[in-house]
């Protein structure tokens, strides 16, 4: 991971150096030749060129590897800068400065596309959140060093023109870094792109059509527009307060340094942990939220003290420093992380559209806006108000982006190769033929296809009610119940008799019947079955088929019972039902009420297992404790399924166990997105099927499992003084281990259990008592 981050940060640093060695000479030459009045026109030109460049970049990405795209882009940049230098140095062609000034705002987003897309291949979603801010810090560092270096070299080089030659040399170094990254990670960066396949999935369509891409484009556009407007506010007021060009240049130098130093400090000291803690939602929303607040302050200060006041200028400067720090530290990482919610084939295209086209379009928009302000002779405070409005819209888009991200991660992690679908009455003749088939399986299938209330509901049931095949008979019975005609009461009686009968085949047939013909009459009966019988596939299907009617009744029953087994069974039924419901049923108990005690139990079981050592005699207890961990995981999964659906949770658990790709990382991210960071981390630690015990324990250590000796644990498991374990099997395992761990002292511990009502506990205690005696003879209770 370290080498990946270093290679990416080196490229970001060289990008920062490149653009700083470009902007200093280009802006100085441009402003000297055309003045600030020319900038809006450059912005408009950049907008048009930027969109064209984005399109060209996407074309390259469709045909070339990431490394080859980087070589093309950086190579073209070097050629342009070198040609600009030659024209200025040998031809005195100052119009070139307009091209180079326009190249600056294009180079930054394209550079970040190159670095960001490489990061998308080299880092998974968790690493992205943790390290991307530091990679961006490379850019700030490069920009700061480059700015200072350009200022320092201007004198010795006899003017700004030759700085462009330095820029071309730095560009070659950037090119070398991109090639080195491709050679170091050829599988990720140097392979040719796969053809983009159109999927039905919402998040996987062509980039411009995906809702997430659209909203991210809007987010990035507003982000860039706000950055540009905040810049304009500072420079406009700086020009007012520092009318002398030398003073203005000095201020620019100090202010630029302040921005980059604060951004670097923020990135290294605060951004990573803050991003991990606040999650993707915080990463997307922090910047617009803070900017809205600061702009509100600026508006008030500007209104109260006037645009000419120094305090107004200071507030504008502070808000720009904070904004850039947040952009480098959080916004760039959050946006880059957002692309991980898109499927890999469209991720690259989406990132290019958003990054490479969003910024130029924003520049064009700001160019038009500034021209309008100038024509209307509006005060700078009007720009503050307009920027406040845009920032508010940016904040709204942050929320929308997060929703899209959440949806995308959910779709990516829980997508299955196929989904079960209901049979449909699509072919009338085929259904007719199947209804009259001699094969009972055909008849059952046809009856399932002919839904009640559908266009072909008038099936002749009488002969089917007499069928020798229990499945045909019970499907017909349930259909009769559902149709509510004169045959319904008899049907209800037959169904109840089947459910209470001894024949498991007929009982399964009765359940299959009501799964094929769901009706509210079955709901309470099914829930009675759920509460009293162990789960089975037939019962699950029947429960699933009654989802909308069954869910509220099941929630109500869950709230009324304290019986642990009944609660488990109702919980499982609600998880199954949730699969086909649009929303989580109302009135469910909070997830934490199950997760917190289960996480604590897992930590205790792992700590106890860890204390036992490797003695063969203790193997049953060790296995029992580890199985208890699995049982806790199953229980937590069932509760989680009530909120998000059984199938989804199964997929999440499968992805947590994924050993290839970034499935595990995405699954952890999804758990955090769904349940918040704290709960997400604990859920992952409990649910991950492949986590080693010590890794699981390390994450759950916050639940403070006591550090006890094996003897303490065995004594606790046998006596269970707090009723924490309440598990006869674990007690039996601990009783079996007691003589080995406690020696002769075990007798006092095991003796009270020799007459226990649980036969396994009693027989194990009696044997343990015998083994506890010094002579090893049979125990006497």
């Amino acid at each position: 991971m370290r080498s990946r981050v270093l290679l990416l940060a080196a490229q970001a640093c060289l990008l920062g150096l490149c653009v700083s060695f470009l902007v200093v000479p280009a802006s100085a030459l441009f402003l000297a030749r055309y003045g600030a009045e020319g900038l809006p026109f450059v912005y408009l030109a950049v907008a048009v060129l930027g969109v064209a460049l984005s399109r060209g970049l996407r074309g390259l990405q469709a045909r070339l590897s990431l490394t080859a795209v980087a070589v093309c882009c950086i190579g073209a940049y070097v050629v342009l800068v070198a040609a600009g230098w030659a024209l200025l140095r040998f031809g005195d062609q100052t119009w070139v400065s307009a091209v180079l000034v326009g190249l600056f705002p294009l180079a930054i987003p394209v550079g970040f596309v190159l670095v960001g897309t490489q990061a998308g291949r080299l880092l998974d979603v968790r690493a992205m959140k943790r390290y991307f801010a530091r990679i961006v810090a490379g850019f700030s560092l490069g920009f700061a060093v480059g700015g200072a270096g350009a200022a320092f070299l201007t004198g010795p080089l006899g003017g700004p023109v030759d700085l462009l030659l330095v820029d071309a040399v730095v560009g070659v170094a950037f090119l070398g870094a991109a090639v080195a990254a491709g050679r170091t990670f050829p599988t990720e960066l140097a392979r040719h792109p796969e053809p983009v396949v159109e999927h039905r999935n919402l998040s996987s369509g062509p980039a411009p059509r995906s809702p997430l891409v659209t909203v991210l484009f809007g987010y990035q556009l507003l982000s860039a527009a706000v950055t540009q407007l905040l810049d304009y506010l500072v420079w406009e007021r700086a020009a007012y307060h520092f009318p002398d060009p030398s003073d203005l240049a000095r201020f620019q130098g100090y202010f630029g340094t302040a921005i980059n130093v604060v951004a670097l400090a923020f990135v290294f000291l605060v951004a990573g942990p803050l991003l991990v803690r606040s999650g993707e939602r915080g990463g997307l929303a922090a910047n617009p939220l803070v900017v809205v607040l600061l702009l509100a302050v600026s508006a008030v200060v500007g209104l109260v003290s006037g645009a000419a006041a120094m305090i107004f200028f200071v507030v504008l400067g502070v808000q720009q420093v904070v904004h850039i720090a947040l952009t480098d530290g959080m916004t760039r990482s959050a946006i880059n992380t957002s692309y991980q919610a898109l499927e890999a084939p469209v991720r690259l295209r989406a990132q290019t559209v958003v990054e490479a086209a969003g910024v130029p379009v924003a520049l064009g928009f700001v160019g038009v806006l500034l021209l309008v302000f100038r024509i209307a002779h509006l005060d700078v405070r009007a720009v503050v108000v307009v920027t406040l409005v845009l920032s508010s819209a940016w904040l709204v888009l942050a929320a929308a982006s997060y929703r899209g991200y959440r949806h995308g991660v959910l779709a990516q992690v829980t997508a299955r190769p196929w989904e079960p679908v209901d049979l449909v009455e699509s072919d009338g003749d085929a259904v007719d033929a199947m209804l009259h088939s001699d094969d009972p399986r055909d008849v059952v299938l046809a009856l399932a296809a002919v839904r009640q209330g559908g266009s072909r509901s008038c099936v002749e049931l009488a002969p089917l009610l007499e069928s020798a095949d229990p499945y045909v008979r019970m499907v017909a019975v349930c259909r009769a119940v559902g149709e509510g005609g004169p045959a319904a009461p008899a049907g209800e009686h037959t169904w109840l008799a089947a459910m209470s009968g001894a024949d498991p085949v007929v009982r399964d047939a009765a359940l299959a019947g009501c799964a094929a013909g769901p009706h509210p009459w079955f709901v309470t009966r099914l829930l009675d079955e759920v509460e009293s019988a162990p789960p089975s596939a037939a019962l699950t299907d029947a429960v699933r088929a009654h989802g909308p009617d069954l869910a509220p009744v099941a929630v109500q029953r869950l709230s009324l019972t304290e019986d642990r087994q009944v609660r488990q069974r109702l919980t499982r039924a609600l998880g199954v039902v949730r699969d086909d419901l649009a929303e989580t049923p109302a009135g469910l108990p909070p997830l934490s009420s199950e997760l917190d005690p289960r996480a604590a139990r897992v930590a205790r079981a792992l700590a106890a297992a860890d204390s036992l050592g490797s003695e063969q005699e203790l193997e049953p207890l060790r296995r029992g404790l580890l199985e208890d961990v699995t049982r806790s995981a199953d229980a937590v999964a069932e509760v989680l399924a009530m909120y998000h659906g059984h199938r989804r949770v199964e997929r999440v658990i499968a992805e947590l166990g994924a050993t290839v790709g970034d499935g595990e990382s995405m699954a952890v991210e999804l758990l955090e997105v769904l349940e918040g960071r704290r709960a997400g981390v604990r859920l992952a630690a409990v649910l991950d099927p492949d986590l080693e015990p010590h890794e699981r324990l390390a994450v759950l250590d916050g639940t403070h499992a006591p550090r006890q000796t094996a003897a303490d644990w065995v004594a606790e498991l046998v006596t269970d003084p707090d009723g924490r374990w309440s598990d006869p099997w674990l007690r039996a395992c601990a009783l079996h281990a007691a003589p080995t761990v406690l020696g002769t002292a075990a007798a006092d511990v095991v003796r009270p259990w020799c007459d226990d009502a649980d036969p396994v506990v009693a027989e194990t205690a009696q044997a343990a008592l015998g083994r506890s005696r010094p002579d090893g003879g049979p125990g006497t209770p």
Partner: protein, 139 residues
């Protein structure tokens, strides 16, 4: 007579049950019958129609069929096809040493199959193994 916990440990060594949780095996353990066989005594006879299988806990047996003979030891099962589909036994199983075995009846095994997918997965694994053996391939 073994303790339930010891029976569970013995079952855990059988590939058919190795992924089944101990507490489930504890339930199965209650249904087992412990049987001992002297050397030379038959556990099963070819052609007999029975609906149980044996889990070998201790000792060695020989399975004799018309086409071959194999030896099995602790942790192996014999006669498992009969609990899936009762048909005449395909071979005779004879104790070569003192043998301790658990007899598991079809009705109890069916209940485990019905309620525990990992038992079903174990059965599939065993059947695949037998298929490979009968085809003489390791693939």
């Amino acid at each position: 007579m073994l303790l339930t916990i010891e029976r569970v440990s013995a079952l855990k060594r059988v590939s058919l049950f190795e992924r089944t949780p101990d507490r489930v095996l504890a339930g199965i353990a209650h249904t087992l019958e412990e049987q001992t066989f002297a050397p030379g005594e038959d556990l099963m006879t070819e052609g007999a129609v029975e609906d149980w299988m044996f889990v070998l806990v201790d000792g060695t047996v020989r399975i004799t069929r018309s086409d071959r003979a194999v030896q099995l030891g602790p942790g192996e099962v014999v006669g498992e096809l009969a609990v899936l589909d009762p048909q005449p036994r395909a071979g005779t199983v004879t104790a070569l040493t003192e043998v301790l075995a658990f007899r598991l009846r079809k009705v109890d095994f069916d209940e485990a199959l019905r309620t525990r997918p990992e038992v079903a997965a174990g059965v599939i694994g065993e059947l695949v193994e037998r298929l490979r053996e009968s085809h003489g391939t390791g693939t």
